[in-house]
């Protein structure tokens, strides 16, 4: 059932837009049929994406540039521009080409932006432009094309630099991967060698015991054997447990990033590369669970012990003790409570809050309360 559905839509589409699919059997230009020519191939030119067979291409464009043989197409094509389409659907082929082109021009990375939001805005802008190029009508396409060209003209340097950076990052990554693979190989070899050595040591135990007996060392035969075996064991353990020299440590360091750039026109939120990176600074600092809140008391000093008859039982009697409860924690909390908020003057601090927009939060709360009451049982 479903297949039927799909084929029917496919035929409808192909009849509506004949040039959107690469033909399979008949060349639309010379109407030659595949039946007579088994290795017929169809080519397209990214100027107009009109498919035609190789014969047509060499016949029409062999002697130099000529107009596209399709009726109503006025593009002038050259033989050099023809290639085999990768996708059967030529609209997809065209979209991929357009995206590749746009991507080559708008090639900034998230690191170039101040925040993720800015980067996403930039991506959205680029996508809008791409969409216009791919799916827009004549005017949209022309507009987008102009924008793209203008941007390319204006930011030629930056684009080039980004491209280079991308290439460098690529090659760096490749280098690193190669170095890692090499290190792993070395490690494996080393391990093999050491295993062999350990096995050889083990194999020579018997011979050594015999030698020692011959030399007439002190002690019984059993003792000698035990001693030699212990020695061997220690040596084998030493070989097996030795540390490998770390080959990962000497990878090349990343090259310093380029110097500052001029500010870009339409794209906002780009990082000023001359400025110090505060974000990075923040992440380099040690993690603070309380986000900078200082827990050291200023109005009192927490003693080790306070006199409190109510707490005596909890401290001394076993049947009152509970895991996880500490009388000292209680004391710390009580002391904190006694002094916390002593210097908070609500009458002053919330004064401007009432008028300011901020506590419109409170006023809004009241409003929300009213609204909620509507919602709940409405």
């Amino acid at each position: 059932m479903s297949r039927k559905q799909i084929t029917s839509t496919a035929t409808v589409r192909s009849s509506a837009e004949p040039s959107s699919q690469v033909p399979t059997d008949i060349c639309p230009v010379c109407t030659r049929v595949r039946y007579l020519n088994k290795d017929m191939e169809f080519l397209i030119n990214p100027e107009c994406y009109h498919p035609m067979c190789t014969n047509c291409v060499s016949n029409i464009f062999g002697k130099g540039p000529a107009q596209c043989p399709y009726a109503s197409c006025t593009k002038t094509l050259r033989q050099r521009g023809f290639r085999t389409p990768f996708f059967k659907d030529l609209r997809v082929e065209r979209e991929v080409d357009v995206r590749r082109r746009v991507q080559a021009v708008f090639n900034m990375t998230p690191e170039d932006f101040v925040s993720l939001r800015d980067y996403n805005d930039y991506l959205q802008q680029v996508e809008d432009l791409t969409f216009d190029l791919v799916n827009g009508d004549e005017a949209d396409q022309r507009n987008a094309e102009q924008k793209l060209l203008a941007y390319e003209q204006k930011h030629k340097e930056d684009i080039e630099k980004n491209k280079k950076k991308g290439r460098e990052a690529d090659s760096l990554r490749r280098q690193r991967e190669a170095a890692e693979a090499e290190a792993a190989r070395q490690r494996r070899l080393e391990e093999q060698r050491e295993e062999e050595r350990a096995r050889a040591e083990e194999a020579s135990i018997n011979a050594e015991v015999m030698e020692a007996l011959e030399r007439g060392e002190p002690g019984t035969a059993a003792e000698i054997q035990a001693r030699i075996i212990a020695q061997k064991r220690a040596r084998v353990a030493e070989i097996a447990g030795s540390h490998f020299p770390s080959l990962l440590g000497n990878t090349t360091t990343a090259p310093g990033s380029g110097s500052g750039s001029d500010t870009l026109l339409s794209i906002r939120g780009l990082k000023d590369k001359n400025k110090r990176d505060e974000d990075a600074d923040y992440y380099l600092r040690p993690y603070d669970a309380f986000a900078g809140l200082d827990l050291k008391p200023t109005r009192y000093e927490l003693r080790d012990r306070y006199d409190n008859p109510w707490l005596e039982d909890a401290r001394t009697r076993d049947d009152h003790r509970v895991p996880g409860y500490s009388a000292h924690e209680y004391e710390a909390r009580a002391m904190f409570d006694a002094f916390a908020g002593l210097g908070v003057f609500i009458a002053d601090e919330k004064e401007d809050a009432q008028k300011a927009v901020g506590t419109a939060a409170a006023a809004e709360g009241a409003k929300v309360g009213g609204k909620i009451e509507e919602d709940v049982f409405a």
């Binding site: 059932m1 479903s2 559905q5 809140l293 200082d294 827990l295 050291k296 008391p297 200023t298 109005r299 009192y300 003693r303 306070y306 006199d307 409190n308 109510w310 004391e331 909390r333 009580a334 002391m335 904190f336 409570d337 006694a338 002094f339 916390a340 908020g341 002593l342 210097g343 908070v344 003057f345 609500i346 009458a347 919330k350 004064e351 809050a353 009432q354 409170a362 006023a363 709360g365 009241a366 929300v368 309360g369 009213g370 909620i372 009451e373 509507e374 709940v376 049982f377």
Partner: protein, 352 residues
Amino acid sequence: MATEDARYRQSSQYRLWSFTPSHLATLREKTNTLARTHISNRLRASDPPVDPLPNFLTPEEEYMILNHFTLELLRAAPYCQLPTDIQATAAIFLRRFYLTNSVMTYPPQELIKTCIFFGCKAEGYFIRVQKIADIFPNTTGEMILAAEYVLCQGIRFAFDVRHPFRALEGTVMELRRLGNFDDDRINRAHKRTRDILKFSPLVTDAYFHYTPSQIMYAALAIADEELVQRMLQEAFAGQNEEAKAKVWSVIRTCKEMLEKEPPEKMTSYWTDPESNKAIKALRRKLAKCRDPDRVDLVALQKARREEAAQKPKPKIASDADEKVFGNGTGEGRESKRRKVAPEAVDPFGPPL
């Protein structure tokens, strides 16, 4: 900047539930007018329309009713054998709730029980609803639970209430350590302050205007002012006098507020004929201007539940299938058509 204050400023009590007196008054007025317009609209729309409209409560009268029911709550809570701070939490929940909701909208005698039950929950003291329902006459667990979600919304999901009780213990420990006063005096002040803290701040707006430690020192100042001075001297040692004087002035205003509602009022209030008469009149007035939609919260809750249950769930799966496979199974389509048919009325009306 003292670190203790910075830590207190992080609490929801400071962020959401601290107001200046004038702000609090405007909030109450606003709540009152909102409820007034809502209820009068409702009464006018009802069939037959209520005419003339009843006299609505003023914000001051609402406040008196709220105070009355806070006292009721404090009277009822000991019967449930609840610790002090749970009682206090329940009382504060009630007061916070009626800051943005009017007593004319939600019946306070119902909310009291919900506040007690929910206060237990918020303080991690888990108790059966039935147990509380058994204590109050003519109450079922369902009635208690009906207003629970409304209460949570009303208190803006700020379940953490900072109380001055533990602060008092800290202060007493510190006073004992300082050793300038004999134990009897400290113990006497401790007991008196505890009694005050259990009552006075809960029936005034102290929790909205002052921090727990300020309330605690104010109560302690009522009991024994010298102890407070000694503590402040300790806390502000090495700082300028100005800061200390400012704190002291705040504590004094708080003290004045607390002194208006001494703990003795808890017993005298119920026997005082004057207050009884006043509240009786107010309750009669309240009964006339109540929001008729919200008198029976249980029925409302039930209706709402049913409505939610009957709401047809969107048929995502079958729709998606049809989109993928083109013409889906016949019956799915058939039912869809049937569903659409009665609604397929021309939005521009029938032909002329």
